[in-house]
């Protein structure tokens, strides 16, 4: 599958639905999403709280299985994979940055960054982790534990962890939501720089119009459906 300019699609979704709960308690989160994201594209997902944007990101990144529909991500058919298959598909191909950092509290910064590469079977995980941490400006915090780092530093570690395996896709869910404005700005600069260097596709959830404006394309979600899909101004 390719994009109109013949670049392959990093993401191709057709009629994706996601329903949580059973019977009377069932809630339709996604109600039929069609979305193609080109390789190397930077996409902003916008929408009010509860619109389904985080759930869409969870499905696109393989954290959650769609209830129905077809989905191909980085050349892998996510529609037919179980949870473990999705986990393996993420290895080395998808990096995820979350609002609350979610570093492993019992591991040092280096170990946190090395872990996904180790899970993917990389032999040189440690030096690559060190190099990535140095690249995000944390060369002096290699052996620090998350609890010994500031919020900004923790998010840099999370960013390094997502980028170090050189993934084809990076998903970021409100990466600055837990940070002050200045630190958030630094993180965004860093993220865009590292992404550009890696040449990865970036899908970023944000409430910040300024940040959205820096992306190639803006998709807004409302009530589980794509409301608008346009190139950034």
């Amino acid at each position: 599958m390719t994009s109109p300019n013949n670049a392959p699609f990093a993401i191709s979704a057709r009629n994706l639905t996601l329903t949580l709960g059973d019977g009377d308690a069932a809630v339709e989160i996604l109600r039929g999403i069609d979305l193609d994201v080109a390789d190397g594209e930077v996409l902003a997902l916008l929408g009010p709280s509860g619109s389904g944007k985080s759930s869409l990101m969870a499905v696109l990144s393989g954290l959650e299985r769609a209830t129905s529909g077809s989905l191909t991500v980085a050349g892998e058919n996510f529609s037919v994979m179980n949870e473990d298959g999705l986990a393996r598909a993420r290895r080395g191909k998808i990096g995820i940055v979350l609002q609350a950092f979610h570093l492993l509290p019992t591991m040092t910064a280096t170990e946190n960054v090395a872990t996904p590469m180790e899970l993917a079977g990389a032999k040189d995980a440690a030096p690559r982790a060190t190099a990535e941490l140095e690249a995000v400006g944390l060369g002096h915090r290699l052996t620090h534990y998350p609890a010994q780092l500031s919020g900004g530093e923790q998010q840099r570690v999370a960013l390094a962890r997502a980028i170090a395996p050189r993934p084809q896709l990076i998903f970021a869910d409100e990466p600055t939501g837990n940070l002050d404005v200045a630190t958030g700005h630094d993180i965004i600069e860093l993220m865009f720089a590292r992404r550009a260097e890696a040449g990865a596709t970036l899908v970023i959830i944000t409430h910040d119009p300024e940040l959205a404006a820096r992306c190639d394309r803006i998709v807004t979600i409302a009530d589980g459906l794509i409301a608008t899909d346009s190139a950034a101004a």
Binding site: A100, H102, T115, G121
Partner: protein, 844 residues
């Protein structure tokens, strides 16, 4: 959407690298598992090591313990020349006699166990005196005395005393008597004299109660069993009792075997209790790592990788806990051995028994696997999405755990059955444990259902307390199982311990006579009774004729079974082994009850008759009308079974399996035996002295002293049991703490929210008390029923004791357990209660 199969995964080395990072060096979060395994494997290691050490001592030192390769015992006679010659053909022989006697020094008199030995004694081992001398038999006119005899007589080394009127010099105090254990339970302290001493003062007159013992040290390599068999064939009616070096002390062997079995069951109980703690501990640990597991999944870990990483962590903690337990079990063995000193032969110092340690480790790791498998396998389902949504509903059970739990349980059962001396007992215990756990799980489920259906209280605190019992994710099931099992174990142990104490304290002293007197000459019975009456007018004296003989054959007249030809003695037919006490009587003995046939009555002069204990008769299928032949001082006597009767063995009076009609055996040379019951508080010194002076060849056994000895032994056994039981109790306490701590972690959120909403500390405290109080009341009833039911099985069915529990003690122990539960549950919330709501919110 269809699914593809799950293939590939993390290698063990990488899994371990990640596991190690996440594993706190001090095993934070896994300490309950560590403590539980430490206690369980420690107890089993100590019990196994101690039992194996004693058994190997009994087996390895057989020659020394027996004093020869083979021992031949016979009552009331010496060996004939022919019999001695037969023994001398086999090897070096050492002979002697054993009998009860009275030792006197001035105004002090002491019943003693007289052991007369020849110059060859001891054939194996060495007698060591307390002054360090290594000696053999004492010279004529001298004696080696046990410390107890010296104390009772008030003498010291070099002083004189008399036995049977013969002056003897106390030449030394016995330090270590090599064949002490094979002599069996003694009725007085030992006095060792030279071989000819008892005969020289008339203590071996015809009819006297003495035992001749001959030991042989084989001159060449022979099988003791083969030698025994050939002697049995050659002297079928000699009335010999045989012992071989391989079975030097059958009583001790049986005791160690039963005690070992019981203690192993106590250890297994500790481990099962510990298992519940392990399950709870692993559950809490993985619950606390929900976020980490989800993060690892976000980073690409599959569910199999999660099982590997956390399985390795739990395995490492289990290994460390087990290893520490093994070290502790190994280290405490010398202390347990010291507690059993004198009762059983135990090597002093550290004993290394690899098999015992391996079995304990295997039990520990298997129990860890069985109880950790369910939470571990469930953790594989923690979704990556847990990071992005608040707590997700409880996970469903995973059938994959069943394979691990089932496999582990099968391995535990196989291990228990393969290593048990009584597989049925061990199997029954394990089945009981599984049923108990099942019942408790069912109860937990029932409580949840009831709590869900109960009407909602108007008060929000009570409503929340009730809701805590059934809401999604409620720990009610785990709490009921852990607390129920722990509290039941407390009740069980208290009921067993108090029941055994009750049997010792209440029954024995109440019914036992004060003295047994042996070897009262037949023609002086009246003089004896008069002597007692003159000194103690209120004393009750009962005399019976006393003979000894072996049952040689029994059964219908034309098809009698010869005991010597039997390959195996049936269960319950112990009177067929060796010589037994025999008596005759005109009337049915006091305390006996006729159950079949009729009594012969006074002045009976017809066909010789015998009355037989009904239990024994049942064991050998003997009926009235059958015949019994006994060997009495080398002469065979046959009598027809006239009746069967039941005996109250616990009365500790004269109880005989065989009671003959007087005309059957009264012509054999014999003396009488007597029991004397004194009024409470009677002074016994003057009576003892009178008896010694007037009946020098008679011996007195002081029951008070014997019971004191027995109490010391039972006390030592009790110490060993208590030590093992306290491990079970400690494991139970650890489980209680773990279960409450795990439940408390869930409650913390509620507590904080209630505080933010304006609940006072008192109200929150009351809410906790209401929830745990409700559980405690239900569990108290369950624990009382389960614990006492199981204790009844152990006391009545296993030990065959009377059911005499001390209810005050049991309720006290249960009350203390409940109080502990409530206090711990409440104490855990105090830090949160003390904090201001804003602080508490930050602590979440």
């Amino acid at each position: 959407m269809s699914e593809t199969a799950d293939t590939g995964g993390l290698g063990w080395a990488t899994a371990w690298r990640i596991a190690k990072r996440d594993l706190n060096a001090r095993f934070k979060g896994l300490r309950l598992l560590l403590v539980c395994l430490f206690l369980g494997t420690g107890a089993l290691a100590a019990i196994g090591t101690l039992t194996a050490a004693i058994e190997s001592e009994l087996a390895g030192r057989g020659q020394e313990l027996l004093g020869g390769d083979l021992e031949v015992e016979v009552w009331q006679r010496d060996l004939t020349g022919n019999e001695r010659a037969a023994l001398a053909d086999i090897g070096e022989v050492s002979g002697g006699t054993r009998l009860q006697a009275m030792a006197v020094s001035g105004v002090n008199a002491a019943p003693v166990e007289l052991k007369a030995v020849d110059g060859a004694w001891p054939l194996y081992g060495t007698l060591t005196l307390t002054d360090g001398r290594k000696v053999g038999a004492p010279a004529a006119g001298e004696a080696w005395l046990a410390q107890g005899a010296v104390d009772r007589l008030g003498i010291k080394v070099g002083d004189n005393f008399t036995i049977g009127g013969k002056p003897l010099v106390a030449a030394g105090i016995i330090g270590n008597e090599p064949d002490r254990l094979s002599e069996g339970f003694q009725l007085g302290p030992t006095v060792i004299v030279s071989e000819d001493m008892p005969g020289s003062v008339g203590l071996l007159a015809p009819g006297s109660m003495y035992q001749s013992k001959y030991r042989v040290a084989f001159k060449d390599a022979r099988s003791p069993d083969a030698v025994e068999e050939s002697l049995q064939e050659r002297f079928p009616n000699a009335g010999f009792d045989y012992r071989t070096r391989d079975n030097a002390s059958p009583g001790a062997d049986r005791f160690v075997s039963r005690m070992g079995e019981f203690l192993t069951l106590v250890g297994l109980a500790a481990l099962v209790i510990a298992g519940i703690g392990i399950g709870g501990g692993v559950s809490s640990y993985l619950e606390a790592r929900r976020a980490s597991i989800a993060t690892l999944k976000v980073l690409g870990a599959s569910s199999r990788d999660i099982v590997r990483i956390y399985g390795l962590q739990i395995g490492a903690a289990a290994l460390v806990g087990s290893l520490l337990g093994l070290i502790a079990g190994f280290a405490v063995t010398p202390l347990l051995a010291a507690a059993l000193q004198g009762l059983l032969p135990v090597e002093s110092g550290f004993v290394f028994e690899p098999a015992a340690l391996l079995i304990a480790a295997a039990y520990g790791l298997l129990v860890a696997m069985v109880f950790a498998a369910t939470p571990l396998v469930r953790a594989r389902k923690f979704p990556a999405m847990a990071l992005m949504r608040a707590r997700i509903a409880p996970l469903s059970r995973d059938g994959r755990a069943l394979a691990w739990v089932g496999g582990g349980m099968a391995a535990i059962i196989a291990l228990a059955l393969l290593t048990a001396r009584q597989p049925l007992l061990s199997g029954g215990f394990l089945a009981g444990a599984v049923v108990t756990l099942g019942l408790l799980a069912l109860l937990g489920w029932g409580i949840r259902i009831l709590a869900a259906k109960a009407p909602r209280p108007a008060n929000p605190l009570w409503r929340n307390a009730l809701a805590n019992l059934h809401r999604p994710g409620a720990a009610t099931g785990a709490l009921v199982t852990a607390l129920g099992f722990g509290l039941s174990a407390f009740v069980l142990l208290a009921a067993i311990q108090s029941s055994i104490n009750g049997n010792i304290e209440q029954r024995v002293p109440r019914e036992a006579p004060d003295y047994f007197v042996l070897d009262i000459p037949r023609d002086r019975v009246t003089a004896f009774e008069q002597l007692v009456a003159a000194d103690q007018p209120d004393a009750f004296v009962r005399t019976v004729p006393s003979l000894r003989g072996a049952i040689l054959a029994y059964g219908p007249k034309d098809a009698m079974i010869t005991v010597a030809d039997m390959e195996e003695i049936p269960d319950g037919a112990w009177p067929l082994r060796g010589e037994r006490g025999l008596t005759y009587a005109d009337d049915l003995p006091v305390g006996n009850r006729l159950v079949e046939g009729s009594w012969w009555g006074p002045f009976y002069e017809g066909e010789p008759l015998v009355s037989v204990d009904a239990e024994f008769a049942q064991a050998i299928d003997l009926k009235p009308g059958d015949y019994i032949t006994v060997g009495l001082l080398g002469v065979e006597r046959t009598a027809r079974v006239a009746n069967l009767r039941t005996i109250d063995w616990e009365s500790m009076g004269f109880n005989y399996v065989l009671v003959f009609s007087p005309n059957a055996i009264r012509d054999a040379p014999h003396n009488l035996a007597a029991t004397i019951d004194l009024p409470d508080g009677a002074e016994t010194g003057p009576l003892l002295r009178q008896m010694v002076r007037n009946f020098p060849s008679s011996s007195v056994i002081e029951i008070g002293q014997v019971l004191a000895e027995a109490r010391v032994i039972l006390g030592q056994v009790g110490t060993a049991t208590f030590a093992a039981a306290s491990v079970a109790v400690l494991a139970g306490l650890a489980v209680l703490i773990g279960a409450i701590a795990a439940a408390r972690a869930v409650r913390t959120y509620d507590t904080v929210v209630f505080r933010v909403l304006g609940a006072s500390r008192r109200q929150v405290l009351l809410m906790q008390l209401a929830e745990y109080g409700l559980l405690a009341i239900i569990l108290a009833v369950v624990a009382l029923g389960l614990g006492t039911g199981l204790a009844w099985l152990v006391v009545v069915q296993l030990f065959e004791f009377e059911w005499l529990p001390n209810w005050a003690e049991i309720l006290g122990v249960l009350g203390a357990g409940l109080l502990f539960v409530l206090l711990f549950a409440v104490a855990g919330s105090l830090p949160l209660l003390r904090a201001k709501p804003a602080q508490a919110l930050r602590a979440l």
